[in-house]
């Protein structure tokens, strides 16, 4: 089971799907209003540095998962302890993604359906996918993720007539501070979350150096596409609605002239969300099985997913709490997991390598 391999294009699509997982529902940089695009650029650069760090760790520790690296660097007990914290973090943010998805669906089309039902069915689907193995997840993403590109392009082309191309002006009206804040938010959500892939990278089938290229390529493509989307949101909605709306991409989809295709287009959000959550569940179950020395991670997938679903219902009482948390608390909560520990890992792996 351990020798499943992922090809370069599959990894690329997985990363893209993962990054679009929540950003196709929420807009992390909306708090920067009409400087959101600047926040995307700055945050994108910062996030790219983070991704570079994770990839460098993977390259320095070839064919080792995050848990193994942690144990190598920190010793067995401390390493396991940190790994358990990581598992908590991963499960937590898969729960948040579940919640985002559920809130979105319940708000835009199914106001009378209990959110748990929708999340539960979605979770069952993802358990099926993850239980089939990471290879099946990546192969499914090969079929679905290209649709993301198609839909993004279709939406932007069909809205071309309603564009107001000066909407991003004036520059830095409220100073640089909110922009930096939004950029930081964008760097940690979604770009910094790529660290989860440290559990997936060992399955990559090509030479480890190609990993750098693929990671760089996918992050650049993502940032460009997202920049494109943000400009589109600004040009079509204006800064005010961008700031006020809960689910910007949905409103954008509903503005396609002469048609109300948004229920159909919303479906594509499943793709990104599905990739993201299944990667998270895989990573959490795999890490858990490695920490406790269990041979097959599949035995824990149901448990992890169930917990994640319960957590997703438990974690907030209302939608605004979710948005507040994602904007205010999440970035700081992420610092140790996304920046500090990986930085230590990188430095110590580098030292170990040079010694």
């Amino acid at each position: 089971m351990e020798n499943v391999k992922i090809s370069g294009i599959q990894l690329f699509l997985l990363i893209i799907g993962f990054l679009f997982g929540s950003t196709s529902i929420l807009t992390p940089v909306a708090s920067a209003k009409n400087d959101a695009w600047l926040a995307v650029i700055i945050g994108g650069l910062g996030g790219a540095c983070l991704v570079w760090m994770y990839v460098a760790i993977a390259v320095l520790n070839p064919s080792k998962t995050l848990v193994e690296i942690l144990r190598n660097r920190f010793g067995k007990y401390l390493g396991n302890a940190i790994a358990i914290l990581y598992i908590w973090y991963i499960v937590h943010f898969s729960a948040l993604t579940f919640r985002n998805f559920g809130e979105f669906i319940v708000t835009v089309t199914y106001p009378e359906t209990p959110m748990v039902v929708i999340i539960g069915i979605f979770a069952a689907l993802l358990v099926y996918a993850v239980n089939s193995g990471i290879e099946v997840v990546s192969r499914s993403s090969e079929l679905f993720v290209p649709l993301l590109f198609v839909i993004i392009i279709i939406i932007s082309l069909s809205l071309i007539t309603t564009h107001d191309f000066t909407a991003f002006l004036p520059l830095l009206e409220n100073g640089i501070k909110p922009v930096l804040h939004a950029a930081f938010e964008f760097a940690t959500f979604p770009l910094g979350e790529i660290f989860v892939f440290l559990m997936v990278f060992p399955h990559f089938n090509k030479k480890i150096n190609n990993l750098k290229k693929i990671a760089a390529f996918s992050v650049i493509i993502f940032i460009l596409l997202y920049l494109w989307s943000i400009f589109e949101y600004l040009f079509v909605l204006g800064k005010d609605l961008l700031y006020r709306a809960n689910f910007v991409p949905h409103i954008i989809a509903s503005l396609i002239p002469n048609s109300n295709l948004e229920p159909l287009i919303d479906i594509y959000l499943i793709i990104g969300g599905g990739v993201k959550i299944s990667i998270c569940i895989y990573a959490a179950a795999k890490a858990l099985s490695q920490v406790f020395g269990i041979s097959d991670y599949r035995k824990l997938v149901t448990a992890v997913t169930t917990f994640s679903v319960v957590l997703s219902v438990w974690v907030y009482e209302n939608l605004l709490e979710m948005v507040e948390f994602a904007q205010k608390v999440w970035p700081y909560y992420s610092i140790p997991f996304q920046i500090v520990i990986p930085l230590i890992l990188l430095l110590s792996s580098y030292r170990a390598k040079t010694d």
Binding site: S7, I9, Q10, I105, T109, Y110, T113, I118, I121, F122, L125, Y128, A129, S132, V136, R139, S140, E142, L143, F144, S259, N260, L261, E262, P263, L264, D266, I267, I270, I271, G274
Partner: protein, 528 residues
Amino acid sequence: MFWKIKTLKNIVRRSTNNNSANNNSDNQEKAEPIPKSINAVKSKLEDIFSECGDLIFREIVCNSKLKLLVVYFDGFVDKRALNQDVMRPILDHFSNEKPQGKSKRISELIKESIVNNNDIKETENIKQAVDNILSGEALLFIDGEDKALIVGVKAPQGRQVEEPDTEVSLRGPREGFVENLLTNITLLRKRIKNPNLKMEMIELGEQTKTDVCICYIKGIANEQIVQEVRDRLKKIKIDAILDSGYIEQFISDSRISLFPTVGNSEKCDKLAGKLLEGRVAIFCDGTPYVITVPHLLIETIQASEDYYDHAFFTTFLRLLRLLALLVSNLLPSLYVAMVAFHPKIIPFKLMITIAASREGIPFSSFTEAILMTVTFEMLREAGVRMPRPIGQSLSIVGAIVLGEAAVAAGIASNLMVIIISITAICSFVVPPLIRATMLLRFIFLAAANFLGFLGIAFLVVAVFIHLCRLRSFGIPYTAPFSPLTAPDLKDSLVTVPIWAMITRPRVLRPESGDAEAGIKRQEVQIKQ
């Protein structure tokens, strides 16, 4: 289907138990040599074939010394050939002349210099003799010798080679396989004149002893797949193989999946094409359907004509088939989802039309769709099962029921009739998936009724994950799309002309071990 087979199997098994006493005595006798006296032979055979009225014993006395016994099943052998090529020369020879020097045994004499027939063999034990009688040869026993001659005078059985009903083509050869294994193999040999075309014969079925033949082209087919086929076939332990469908169910990778992971075809040219791509075929005596493995999803929308026609048309047709596949699976459920959950998406004018046509209909759109779909499936099934002459009247009744009457009676809306008709038409476009589509359609309807588009989307994703899980003899079912195999995309949805298909399908050789060996299909023409 499942239950049917099971009951069939039970019946077969029961009859086995009844005959088991007989069989056991058979088994003991089989190893025995042939007795020298033909009377002993006759009584032994009569014992084995008791109550077999169609077995013919003929004793011939040529001169006082030579006595012959001919045994065969009536109707199984070509009597003219037997008389003219075997009996007459023997009778002529022995009644006119006296037996020549005793140096040669009579059986050898007959075999080597008297009989005209080419297919003549010797045997020394009863078991082989009985087997050969059963497979339609004539047996020649000579008094005083412990050998019997097997004379191959099998009468040509079954149909002539004709165009298959199930796979009609406008362009291309019309020969289809028949029930006879040898005829089928001949048809294939005629097309691929290559000693590398290997035919491995095995026998399957405890009771039926059906001849099964594994066929592949050495050097093109992947050895691992061939070995896998052999292994899987060997594992089959069953009383009867009445059709290749039995084998199909035993060797397919997933037993629950609705999607076929084993292909079958009736057409020679199609089979030849598959073999040349590196697939393995399994012939089964008694059925015109030849199995091909591995069978991938993309094959369901490929037709043999595709390769004979211009690449543009092929591409268009392939896309059309894909569309038909999607429509036949999804259209009713999309309609139900739209009407019940997302009226938003319906254009305003159409919405008024739909609402008007649904006014006064007592059922929900879901119930309506289920009713109409079930009616249609029943009509289809009736059309297949019933005697041909009634077909006309059925189609008239069907058209009335599905069409005007249901609408006039206020049971179904106009639009639903149209939708079910379109679905029906589309479901016939991709024949290999008719069965899968039929069931999936209902599941999709249920999902649409449950959660609208979201339900459909969940189910679509689930189906695709399932497809990605599936493998056919180790080959990913969704190849060449996932995993992406760029060179193979030339013969997927978008096709290129045949002169540009330089390589054979790469997906069939997943391991790099023998990668380059069989890849190249044609030389690249650099100079004109």
